[in-house]
Amino acid sequence: MNALHSQAPASETGDEYAFAYLDEQTKRMIRRGLLKAVAIPGYQVPFGGREMPLPYGWGTGGMQVTAAILGGDDVLKVIDQGADDTTNAVSIRRFFSRTAGVATTTRTPEATVIQTRHRVPETPLSNDQILVFQVPIPEPLRFIEPAETETRTMHALRDYGVMHVKLYEDIATFGHIATAYAYPVTVDDRYVMDPSPIPKFDNPKLDMNPALMLFGAGREKRLYAVPPYTRVVSLDFEDHPFAVQRWDECCAVCGSRDSFLDELIIDDAGGKRFVCSDTDYCRQRQQETGQ
């Protein structure tokens, strides 16, 4: 559209798709939304979400963000619950390898763009990387207040007392804060944000992370962002400070005691093992320890 004389091919990859599937006008709209999201950390920017060739709940929001930011020299990694080899991760990786022709990887340090569903990689991210989160319900206040007009006002007024009431109800019922994922955070001392359904184990990684973090919610049509080196604080109480999950066991495969572990039932007698949820991290540790 910007070219005066040349009729540029619809795609550099030579197939029938525009680069990274979305048309240029849609990408511009998402890009403008992302710039506002970065300028107002933690604030949810409405955007004209498009229908993607897969159902809501499979990462349409994250895919639209990825499509808008992706360039020909990017290296893409996609994880689902930490794993590179699950259906959702494999199909999204193939989607962009077909529609954008970009290189893909499963190694965290090699990726420039990482699209993720429900985990932050264990390997520390660098300043040159962008982490794209798939978000089902972007509004942290939604379970308390169903009306969008009301939650907008609550954000405008910083009326976040109900979030603490919700956490307090946990304490009253269970004796501790039982919220284990999608644990609400305050971004740069202003907006309360849903970090997407990552385990609260990953919340500390959001704080002052060197990587840019972008969030896309496809069904709810919202974008939000946490810039690099931004304070992200998990909500808590003085007498019930925020704490992450701990395991008595270590990973059955790589022996890690520092990573987030999935519980696997391994026999009919209910025997169980724990393994790393981050498959790349686990594989890397196996190579290092020579197992």
Partner: protein, 200 residues
């Protein structure tokens, strides 16, 4: 059409250059105060390559743009209309983007700042400067900056006052400073401390 005297070239490879420009802009806003290079772009009269590149990659029919008098020429209007399809508006209140130069920074009133409920509905300023350094250093803090960053944009002192007047977080103006082929971001979230007087 072919002999229209006004029309000038834009991006050679539109999809690619628009993406590269956007990524530089995203990074500039995510890490305020660091200058970022942009892909090679032609100039358009007084619009420097970086300013023109931002227009080409971000503007379209959905984004009314306000041009400062210095940039409001028939050629600029014709080319922005042709390449971007963006309406050029007369009133600042209607603008989603505005193109200014250093001389326009004495008065930043009138541009949309967004509302408390929708702070994203604010104007983005593209401010074209001669260069992105050599001015009085100002300490920037906030999201995107680990600790503190000294930025020495050559800006008139009244810019900082204007920025304070036209911003009450989360409402406010986001600024891209451009010079030549480079840009530097100043989002509303950045806290700029009073200029530091040098001892000399």
């Amino acid at each position: 059409m072919s002999d229209a005297p006004y029309l000038q070239p834009a991006f050679e490879r539109p999809a690619e250059a628009a993406q590269q420009t956007f990524r530089a802009a995203l990074r500039a806003l995510a890490e305020p105060g660091l200058a970022r290079p942009l892909p090679p772009t032609p100039t358009l009269e007084r619009l420097a390559p970086a300013t023109y590149a931002l227009c080409l990659s971000l503007l379209d029919a959905d984004t009314p743009v306000w041009l400062a008098p210095a940039f409001d020429t028939p050629v600029v209007r014709a080319n922005l209309s042709f390449h971007c399809g963006c309406p050029v508006v007369e009133r600042r209140e209607q603008a989603a983007f505005a193109v200014l130069d250093a001389g326009d920074l004495a008065d930043l009133s009138g541009f949309p700042l967004g509302s408390e409920r929708y702070p994203d509905q604010s104007c983005t300023l593209l401010v074209q400067l001669e260069r992105l350094d050599g001015g009085e250093p100002v300490a920037w803090q906030g999201p995107g900056i680990a600790g503190q960053r000294q930025v020495d944009l050559p800006l008139p002192g009244h810019f900082w006052k204007q920025r304070d007047l036209n911003g009450d977080f989360p409402r406010g103006l986001d600024v891209f400073f451009t010079a030549g082929q480079a840009l530097l971001g100043l989002p509303r979230s950045t806290r700029c401390l009073a200029p530091i007087r040098e001892a000399s």
